[in-house]
């Protein structure tokens, strides 16, 4: 092992960290790019419906859209506030 190699290995590579972060981010952004354009509006309306019956905040609703070769999945998660401060999660999965 040469002297230069010694210095190289003693450093944690920031480039590999950059690559890892980018791969995750880019993959995420590519999937969200293909999301239907009605998704934010749907999220908003669903939130309003839920709010009619219960008191939830914007952060308590989570919509995830996933796509593979065979199917598109819309996942909806609503964190319902509970009187006893317990939190229940309702999940609807659709095709």
């Amino acid at each position: 092992m040469s002297l230069l190699d010694y210095f190289k290995t003693s450093k944690t590579s920031s480039a590999s960290l950059a690559k890892e972060r980018l791969q995750i981010l880019v993959a995420h952004e590519r999937t969200s790019k293909n999301q239907p354009s009605y998704l934010p509006e749907l999220q908003d309306e669903l939130l309003n419906v839920v709010r009619k019956y219960t008191n939830v905040t914007q952060d308590a609703i989570f919509i995830n859209f996933e796509q593979d070769e065979h199917q598109e999945t819309l996942e909806l998660n609503i964190m319902l506030p509970d009187d006893n401060d317990k939190k229940k999660t309702k999940s609807i999965l659709g095709k």
Partner: protein
Amino acid sequence: MVTSGKGGVGKTTTSAAIAMGLAKKGHKTAVIDFDVGLRNLDLIMGCERRVVYDFINVVNGEATLHQALIKDKNCGQLYILPASQTRDKDALSKEGVEKVLNELSKTFKYIVCDSPAGIEKGAHLAMYFADDAFVVTNPEVSSVRDSDRMLGLMSSKSRRAEKNQEPIKEYLVLSRYSPERVKLGEMLSVEDVQEILSLHLLGVVPESKSVLNASNAGIPIILDEKSDAGQAYADIVARYLGEEKPHRFIETKRGFFGKLFGGK
């Protein structure tokens, strides 16, 4: 069309170099600055004092294309269409740009569109009519991310995408590359960037002092044939035109210290 999403990565430098390279190969070439309000191509091309009319004047019919085009002082085959410095970006319209591009394509073999940074109107119009895209990227996280975003827009918001035609051909120009820093693990490598963007690599432009020297003087870097960056752009143009050229400037130069410590 030359794009990047992010600002300051070398779009205008690349536009000037590629346009000059194509013209020097004997192709009649026009280069258009789409950065309305913040024009700089004229400065990089060294013709800033000869700007009378601009792109917007032509779009609005206030000047003819012939009046607005500036003949390059170094190459008779190259003409520059500067952006307006006084109007805002809304002065450009799809129809207006299309009209000018159609008129230019009657006499020019290549039309190089220098896109502004960002994803707003100017950038959208620069890419909308494109056949080929040079995606200028620096080996740095924000630049790679923005390039990916631009690629997404090109595949969905361009004329070719809207008309279901063959997609825009996309080429990667990796600029400000430092093989030394890549070797030390401080910079994303060519392979890393290619893997993330999955783009065809047209060439790597090394980080070079000569780029600033060239822009200081208003001479496209490709005319500095002695500089590494100038040679890199000459390779890029040649590859774009179908010539086979082995990639350069990816490996570190082995100097005295490299030989001393590098083993082998």
